[in-house]
């Protein structure tokens, strides 16, 4: 097998078809993990292309590059893709690959369910993108969704969304969500039931802890979304009136359903970044994570509180003053455990010997950008501030700082960190530095100025604007920033490709790390460990490397 992640490569070369067949039918959690990441990058290409087209249209005032309908489709597909088809598979891919290795077992609890989960997720994504081919009825199918990734009623109702574009949105997300639910259930079961000997909950690596909370959130949050999508389908095909305002239905009801999914979803997407940071920062600071129990409690409380803050997306919808006050309070409260995590990471770095390898560089940028994201989040939780800036570009800036400045930067950090484990080779440091600096500049150039255009009153989701409102320069900067980001991403993709063949050999434990995945070979064999490990502390490799002063003495 010539794939970089192949297992028994000593045997005679096999045909390409056998390789494809092997991957398509695999139940190996590592291969499925890589497939999830591959799918994420695949859809990231589409999502990025849609974003670029939008930014070209908005680069100058009154530009006529995209028709309004086309812009609205790009806007909808960009949001939907990035949330469901990029963010989610990043999470599932990394968890799939790493959790069995970190908890010292051979595979997920239900390997075939895992494979089915992936293929359903991928099918859902393809179904969503198939809608583009529908192009005004080529297959009698309508065309790509244009109702926004949030699909607010009644814009999604039969009266305002004719054709099948909204149905593609519903069914694509539903199928993909079904796969995500299966995989989340599978991973929860695996963490609960398949840990190696000695790995009690108090010895679970922070990464696995955070992922556990994350998958419970996936299970809890996807349910209301699916329910609401069924109701919308009933409205559209069976003549019910849940959201059909012309027949007395409620537009606000959809928002409650959507955001009771949608807010936890934000935490579903950002928790993996916390999980990766909690592995990477200690290893490169050469220090144990500061305040392990507090990190776990903070994660649990973030998970819990995130279920009670959804209406902060609805501060302008006309809820009562008491409801607005309650949701402001719960939203502000979530800053406490999140801030605690930031302080604990900083304390981990404090007094360390920090090696600024690429994973740590990306993590450092994360620590700056995610703080900005968190602070603008606090600002938006102040309801009157939100009355001015919700649905403005300020909000666009805020959540892109969360999702790119937070999630994507940590995703890059994680790829640089675990790539040697997955492929047996290191990613090129030179290309990596180019990727880091170019992307860092591009990202901040794109989303930094959006805070400004929001404050000057630019609403989001508009396909064009007039000159002379003070928005021109911010928009031009943002559009240039996207081009810079794209160059950075190309370096990243090139690095992935080039290093798989030419990268420096990694060895089993290139970073001198401490968790169980680094005890096995790189790449790991199909069965993960020759002999299932037994652990005595949270850092089994530390114990092995420092027999004179093992961790379990202090835990």
């Amino acid at each position: 097998m010539d794939g970089p992640i192949g297992t028994a490569s000593e045997t005679a070369p096999v045909s390409r078809w056998v390789t494809v067949h092997d991957w398509a039918t695999t139940t190996d959690h590592k291969k499925l993990g890589v497939m999830y990441i591959g799918a994420a990058l695949f859809f990231f290409g589409f999502g990025g292309l849609e974003a670029s087209l939008m930014r070209i249209q908005l680069a100058f005032p009154d530009l006529q590059f995209l028709a309004p309908e086309t812009f609205n489709r790009m806007m909808t597909m960009h949001g939907t893709t990035m949330v469901f088809l990029v963010g989610m598979p990043m999470l599932f891919g990394s968890a799939n690959y790493l959790i069995p290795l970190q908890i010292g077992c051979r595979d997920l609890a239900f390997p075939r369910l895992n494979s089915m989960g992936f293929w359903l997720f991928f099918l859902g994504g393809c179904l969503l993108y198939f809608s583009f081919l529908g192009g005004d009825g080529l297959y009698g199918a309508g065309t790509a969704p244009d109702v926004g990734w949030f699909a607010y009623a009644p814009l999604t109702g039969k009266a305002f969304s004719r054709g099948n574009s909204t149905d593609y949105w519903i069914l694509g997300i539903m199928v993909s969500g079904l796969g995500s639910t299966m995989t989340a259930l599978n991973l929860v079961t695996t963490i609960l039931c398949s840990r190696c000997r000695g790995m009690t909950f108090s010895k679970l690596p922070v990464f696995t802890w955070i992922m556990l909370v994350d998958f419970v959130l996936v299970l809890v949050a996807l349910t209301p979304l699916t329910a609401a999508q069924f109701m919308l389908l009933f409205d559209r095909f069976l003549g019910s009136h849940f959201f059909d305002t012309q027949a007395g239905g409620s537009a606000v009801l959809w928002q409650h359903f959507f955001w009771i999914f949608g807010h936890p979803e934000v935490y579903i997407l950002i928790l993996p970044a916390f999980a990766w940071a909690s592995e990477i920062i200690p290893v490169f600071s050469r220090k144990v994570i500061f305040g392990y129990s507090m990190m776990v409690y903070a994660t649990l409380s973030i998970g819990f509180i995130s279920l009670g803050v959804w209406a902060h997306h609805m501060f302008t919808v006309g809820l009562s003053p008491s409801a607005n006050t309650f949701f402001a309070a719960s939203t502000m409260l979530i800053a406490v455990p999140t801030g605690l995590k930031i302080f604990n990471w900083l304390a981990t770095m404090w007094g360390g010997k920090i090696r600024f390898e690429l994973p740590m560089l990306f993590s450092t940028a994360f620590l700056c950008q995610f703080v900005i994201a968190g602070l603008t989040g606090i600002m938006l939780s102040v309801v009157p501030f939100d009355w001015q800036l919700s649905d403005s570009y300020f909000v666009v800036a805020h959540f892109h700082y969360v999702l790119i400045g937070g999630l994507l930067f940590m995703f890059f950090a994680a790829v640089y960190y675990w790539y040697p484990k997955v492929t047996g080779r290191m990613l090129s440091r030179k290309i990596g530095h180019l990727h880091f600096w170019i992307f860092l500049v591009g990202f901040n150039l794109t989303f930094g100025p959006m805070h400004g255009s929001g404050i000057l009153g630019m609403p989001r989701r508009i396909y064009t604007y007039d000159a002379g409102r003070g928005w021109d320069i911010f928009n031009l900067m943002a559009s240039i920033g996207v081009a810079v980001q794209a160059i950075g991403i190309l370096f990243f993709v090139w690095n992935l490709y080039w290093s798989a063949r030419n990268g420096e050999e990694a060895g089993d434990d290139p970073w001198d790390a401490w968790t169980l995945e680094w005890t096995t070979t790189s790449p790991p064999p199909a069965y993960n460990f020759e002999e299932l490990p037994v652990v005595h502390s949270r850092r089994p490799l530390w114990d092995r490397k420092h027999p004179e002063d093992p961790d379990w003495k202090y835990e």
Binding site: M332, L333, I354, D391
Partner: protein, 328 residues
């Protein structure tokens, strides 16, 4: 029209900075915004200062002994401290927020208030003044309100189709315009002028061109504007051809003209149409040339809008334009 006091350049515009408000609510929002921004800036400086210090001070240097630094597993006092301090900040912020909400989220107009019904349509705004029997579109006229002469404007927001959002940044705050749900937004401003606003909730194809303007007049000017709007349109015999054409074609299925047979409600009420500065909910200035272009093909100026190309001949367009130009 004696509206010279309202300064205005050509198409359009002006800044609509939320930190430059002109209303009572806008000022309150600005104050609490600076408060939270100040706190956040402080937190940012502290965390990033620590981060920078770590980067500079604790980076591994060549020539180190290669041994790992002392392992510190945590410290209860420190962790308790950085749980409690943020808690206190949150409580302070919360109290400030709760107070401002209570002060500005008012849903019952007082007796002195001017009440205007705002109806959101795809993709234009309808303004009705029940007190005066006036209906207009896309340009809201309200009086100033001073402590001596207190007259806040209360907007009753309703939607005809999907969700919109009413946002005039300098007047402070926004509120969604939701079908089957009555929302309120109020302004209380002593400063005359023109303020730009825009729909802030995605509402379909032409969400971008659902602009609005708010003209704030002194009470005297406002009274003049009201009187002008209440007048019946002049029957100018020179434009009889245009009037007849307007009433014969499908125009009247969607548009209302006060005092004529035209009473459609699907599109904007065109009574006193020439008193408006813009066309198509802010897509262009209301000049004879633009008006002509709009009537010839609205889809060219605002693709996807609800007004179809009526496929009129050149001469017919001339007549209609001439007629509309008389609707002062």
């Amino acid at each position: 029209m004696p509206l010279a006091a309202v300064a205005e350049g050509p198409m359009p515009h002006q800044y609509s900075n939320i930190f430059d408000p002109v209303s009572v609510t806008g000022h309150q929002i600005k104050d609490i915004s600076w408060f939270v921004i100040g706190i956040c800036a402080l937190i940012f400086l502290i965390t990033q200062g620590i981060l920078l210090w770590c980067i500079l001070k604790f980076r591994a240097r060549p020539g180190d002994d290669g041994r790992d630094p002392p392992q510190i597993y945590g410290s209860t006092p420190v962790e308790v401290a950085w749980t409690i301090v943020p808690m206190i900040i949150v409580v302070v912020l919360f109290l400030a927020t709760a107070r401002t909400i209570a002060e500005i989220q008012i849903e019952e107009p007082p007796e002195e208030a001017l009440v205007v019904d705002v109806v959101g349509h795809r993709w234009w705004w309808e303004f009705k003044y029940p007190e005066y029997g006036i209906t207009t579109a896309n340009e809201l006229h309200i009086p100033t309100s001073t402590p001596e002469n207190w007259r806040p404007t209360f907007l009753r927001l309703l939607s005809q189709d999907v969700i919109h959002s009413f946002w005039v940044p300098r007047l402070g705050g926004k509120s969604d315009v939701v079908p089957n749900k009555e929302n309120w937004l109020w302004y209380d401003t002593p400063t005359a002028g023109m303020y730009l606003g825009q729909c802030a909730e995605y509402c379909g194809t032409q969400h971008a061109h659902m602009l609005l303007r708010v003209y704030v007049h002194t009470p005297d000017e406002f009274a003049v504007w009201v009187a002008d709007q209440q007048k019946a349109d002049v029957e100018d015999p020179k434009v009889a051809a245009g009037r007849e054409l307007f009433q014969k074609t499908a125009c009247i299925n969607c548009h209302t003209l006060g005092g004529t047979v035209a009473n459609g409600t699907y599109g904007p009420d065109l009574s006193h149409f020439m008193s408006r500065k813009t066309l198509g909910a802010g897509v262009a200035l209301n000049t004879p040339e633009n008006l002509r272009a709009w009537i010839e093909d609205p889809q060219a100026l605002k693709p996807g809008c609800r007004m179809p190309n009526m496929k009129l001949t050149e001469l017919e367009v001339d007549h209609i334009v001439d007629y509309l130009l008389t609707l002062q």
